[in-house]
Subunit: 204 residues, 2 copies
DNA sequence: ACCAACTAACTATGCACATAGATAGTGGCG
DNA sequence: CGCCACTATCTATGTGCATAGTTAGTTGGT
């Protein structure tokens, strides 16, 4: 149910087409909420039907056309209401930790590989998020700059501060996951010290 | 797709009915993977059809009956194969951080409430997980004890060690989330120092 | 003139999961 | 005896999301 609010967040800056939003998901919101275009287009139509958005037909080239969505007052209200409502948290469902709990079933080398994948995955995320922080600090994010341009000067600090705060939390989380998996690698080495990886030659 | 592996993990210890598994989900695996009974029962039937489980009709009282599932060799193999396969990670989708990124839209008091809810949520999880660690250390987990009883002595350390490792990681993660939200509270106070919460009386 | 890469949008299928409710038997307590 | 909490299972409906494929126009380069 968060997709529509991610969309409203972007549309609160300026009108956009479904494709714009899809692209923007890769570049900005996508770092906290990913969505494929096949989910975005129908959601936009639904939101228009519910009066949160106004759709406008725009010609493009000779015969091409696209639909540009504007946020309505009802849309702004819906977004603000969501922001003022405390989130419901869902139940834990964590494949990586489920696997970790039964790692004795895996071959030592497969267990290590799992830990390495965990490190790699979170290293990648960490990089993206750090990059995002740098963009915020150096005003190099197009979307954020446009948002700031339409924000009263007195509130600009807050807009930047909350985004920075968000990504800082994610970077720390990634660090924690990386450290955890490194401990995992050490633990595996320790537990199989007398019985090296199945495909590894035993020492003489 | 992880549900079936969580079920196989439990059934690798001993045969159980759907209801047993449902209960066990609340007490052990549920701490890393939650599932409602309405998802468990049909999955068990599917797994039986695929040959991963054997179902056995058991009478219970006068007219009552229940179905007890045994893991088959194919089931053990499927679980081991999954354990030896590196996980695919899914895209980021994090409602709490999505909201955090746009917190300037919320009333200060609502923003604080969101942070408090985050702290409360992760404090609850932290407690569960710490409890789990204590149970592991003191051999007070029924399920784990039964698993250990059926495990060769040489491998018992590993079984416990991986579980401990898993929950330690989750505890650290919870700590990190709590710290983050506390920073959030401090940040909100700082950013609205000149403009206290909307419903609060201004100082004379 | 043509092709590749991009813009733009839509459709289809299926699983995973949340939520809610239905049905029926059991065991114990007062 | 009647009631309640628990055991046990199943059904139904809707949303969210992944994955994959389709159609059509545009732009820029060789």
């Amino acid at each position: 149910m968060s997709l529509r609010y991610a969309l409203l967040a972007l549309l609160s800056v300026e009108p956009m087409t479904g494709y714009d939003l899809y692209k923007e998901f890769e570049a900005s919101v996508g770092h906290v909420w990913h969505a494929p275009d096949s989910q975005i287009y129908p959601e936009l139509r639904r939101m228009e039907k519910e009066g949160l958005l106004d759709g406008e037909e725009v010609t493009w080239g000779q015969r091409g056309k696209k639909r540009r969505y504007h946020i309505t007052e009802a849309g702004v209200k819906a977004f603000r209401d969501w922001m003022n409502t405390t989130l419901e948290y869902t139940r834990v469902r964590d494949p990586a930790h489920l696997k970790a709990a039964y790692l004795e079933w895996a071959e030592p080398e497969a267990a290590r590989e799992q830990m390495r994948a965990h490190i790699e995955h979170h290293t990648g995320l960490r990089q993206q998020w750090e990059q995002r922080i740098r963009e915020i600090d150096q005003d190099r994010s197009e979307m954020l700059n446009r948002r700031l341009a339409g924000t009263p000067e007195a509130d600009r600090d807050r807009v930047k501060a909350f985004k920075r705060f968000t990504y800082e939390g994610l970077v720390t989380r990634a660090d924690q996951e990386i450290t955890w998996a490194q401990h995992g690698l050490a633990l595996i080495d320790e537990l199989y010290a007398n019985r090296p990886g199945a495909r590894q030659a035993a020492k003489k």
